[in-house]
């Protein structure tokens, strides 16, 4: 297992290196740069002044030098300086990270708590009214984009209760109740979609396992339904569910853009869009790298969980 994790980490490093190249190149391929944006806010362009600012920001240097400089900054823990804010990029990024991680984690918890039990009930009560109702519920979740649901929640709250959750970040240490309210609604909006996917995977996986011989044997031994389903069937049905959870979590980190925007949460995703619009390369590059790291780590955790869930799964010979 240890060897396997080391191998995976080594591959992860190579993946990140590849990612860094892709991020760097794609950003430079996008039309315009920070200097064009600065001039856009001033309403004109002066080629000579533009050149001077490009020199000041170091973006007049050859791309290879800029790329190597960025890699050096990552290795030394210095993420460079935000072009837009004239501040160290880390200082700009640092407050955003916990917000996005918390929202993604809460959304995932909500999705699992709703999706897995609903999937189990749906499988156990296959082709009953309850099963159909749950399947419609999950289909609706897949069909409704989370940003749309978020907007509907906001508009519903303001229309019926003349109230919406706080729109500036409330730290948990300052007011836990408000903090919880602020995060729960977007987590519900995002988690609903993920729960629908988890429910469908749980249902289909469990239906397959329930037809296995060992389940029939368990029933024949006279074990209770609870033991058969939760201990024997579900544990074996969980492998694909865990895979989906891992993929969904990774997807959430990058996919919270609109939800963070609608609920005005100061997270990575919302900020990333603004940074891209401003061509704030140091901030964008490092935020995308952060997302890539989270994706890779979540995949690694999923792989490790396979071994825990199914002792037959062994890695690294």
């Amino acid at each position: 297992m240890k060897t396997y994790i080391i191998q995976r980490l080594a591959i992860a490093l190579l993946t990140l290196l590849g990612m860094s190249m892709v991020i760097f190149v794609l950003l430079r391929l996008a039309p315009g740069d920070i200097v064009d944006i600065l001039f856009a806010t001033a309403g004109y362009i002066s080629p000579s002044e533009k050149q001077a600012i490009m020199k000041e920001l170091g973006i007049d240097r050859p791309y290879v030098i800029q790329y190597l400089d960025w890699l050096h900054q990552i290795v030394t823990g210095d993420l460079g300086k935000s072009y837009r804010y004239d501040l160290p990029a880390w200082e700009v990024i640092r407050p955003l990270v916990p917000v996005t991680l918390e929202l993604a984690a809460l959304s995932m918890i909500f999705a699992v708590l709703l999706g897995v039990p609903a999937g189990v009930v749906s499988a156990v009560r296959q082709d009953t009214t309850l099963d159909y109702a749950l399947r419609v519920f999950s289909l609706a979740g897949l069909a409704m984009p989370s940003f749309w649901l978020g907007m509907v929640i906001i508009l519903g709250l303001v229309t019926w209760f003349a109230w919406i959750p706080p729109l500036t970040y409330v730290a948990p240490t300052k007011n836990l109740k408000l903090h919880a309210i602020q995060f729960l609604l977007p987590a519900l909006a995002v988690g609903y979609r993920s729960s629908a996917l988890i429910m469908r995977i749980t249902r289909s996986s469990l239906l397959e396992v329930m037809r296995e011989d060992y389940i029939r044997t368990a029933w024949a031994k006279g074990q209770t339904g609870r033991i058969v389903i939760w201990r024997h069937a579900l544990k074996n049905a969980l492998l694909p569910v865990v895979t989906v959870i891992g993929i969904e979590f990774a997807f959430l980190i990058g996919g919270l853009v609109v939800t963070e925007t609608v609920f005005n949460l100061p997270g990575v995703a919302r900020f990333l869009v603004q940074a891209i619009l401003w061509r704030d390369y140091p901030v964008v590059q490092n935020l995308v790298m952060f997302t890539a790291i989270v994706v890779i780590l979540s995949n690694l955790i999923v792989d490790t969980l396979y071994g825990v869930l199914d002792p037959r799964v062994r890695y690294g010979g």
Binding site: T41, P95, T261, F263, R270, Q274
Partner: protein, 537 residues
Amino acid sequence: MMRFGALPLLGVLTLVLSISTLATPAQSQTPKSGGTLNIMLREDLSQGFAIHESSTISTVFPAAPCFNNLVQFDPAKATESTDTIVGDLAEKWSWQDNYRNLVFFLRKNVKWHDGKPFSSKDVKFTFDMLREGPDVPAKLRINPRKDWYANVEAVEAPDANTVVFRLKRPQPSLLSMLASGYTPIYAAHIPPASYRTTCVGTGPFKVKEWRKGEYLDYVKNPDYFVKGRPYLDGLHYVVIVERGTRTAALQAGQLDVAFPGETTKAAAEQLKKAVPQLVVTPVGTAVTDNIIMNSKKPPFDNPKVRLAVSYAIDRKGLIQAVHQGAGVPGAAMAPRPYGVWGMPEKELLALPGYGKPADMKARARKLLAEAGVTPQRPLRVEMVTRAIAVYVDMASFVINELKQVGIDATLKQIETAQWHAMATRGDYQIGANLTGLGVDDPDANLYENFACGSPRNYSFYCDEHVTKMIDQQSQELDPKRRLGIVVTIQKKLEEDAARPVLDHRIDYFTFWPHVKGLVPHHNIYNFARMQDVWSDK
């Protein structure tokens, strides 16, 4: 002829008057001290507090409470003119030597937010930096309003409380430009670049915290030079990028004041329906919809084709279809009551594009035929616009109008990052554009957008006679005569289709009734100081 424009204008005026009437009792109330206002921002401060390096309301509006000007437009009067200019850091001022020298007598005992004393040195520093004179003490990274001070020969500080602007020729407009929200005084002892991250001003509020992309907090400046001001303990600006969420926040009372230029007529009606007590004030925005045509490239190097475009676009139709009536017709300068330099309605209605739409389109077709455009040989052009909804909506309407006269235009959306570079270089044929004016003043507008060689003269229109008239009005000391010249210039610009103006946009500025002393101006850039605003909560 009178049918055009009269009704919307009358409607807006009625609304203004009714709201003014309603506001009278509130204004007679005794102001209370204390409280914090929650104010909407639609994006983060784009250049921090560096107003001199920016030309966007997203900088001026939230940064203004930190600063003072030499003079300002009276915060209590919605329509701005030279007659409404009042002192700010300058207690009084005087034109001397037949308008060749403008002398300011500064207030004493004014302190910067860091405790250092304010003096005439700071004023000299600011304007030497802006005009980039030979003895420039510091350089701005970007200096978008350098041209405003092209006529300033020298700025002198004979003593700590006196500043003299020596002009190359008389220029009464200078005072208006000094009163604009774009003209705050910077501290000489602070590097100008530092204003991108923090603010040391003399203004009524001091920066407490700026959480990037999230909020900006101010606290009351206890050492403010106006006794008893500001009334508020603080200001809390909240960045909300999503428009629906911004409106919901205002409706739910999480925000007290909307962002200038933000509330459309439809949104205002929806808000009023949900919360009838909200105060909605229709005001001019100092932003025009206009058409830029590259006069250096075919087919718009042909004046007949340019004029045909101007004739083809139904201004009234555009105001109704694109803005749901939230606009007023006007040429280069805003019409009354939104400005004081606009064309009289009678003359305006005689201009291309302002008559009966069918007649105007027939005229456009005739002009195009004279230029060789026929149904067999239609004119195919590419229309550019910024990839922002307010631009695209307007461009789509214009394309439909042009199609009706035989111009087949395809829309090309340009990202903000490329828009100004493209327009400045002239890499386009025809474009749908928005232009904001920092101050309702002919010099600020005409030199910037219509003078030969100006970087923001995107159409590359250049007429020696017009340039002469622009210079002439700039130094005309008699206001009536000056207005006459300005009207003639506007008429000529429209007849030449230099940059046809389609309408002047109206904002339905909204705030809660407990917000008192906030009078939105007919120019979004000039009423953000918040010095006299108080909360009756």
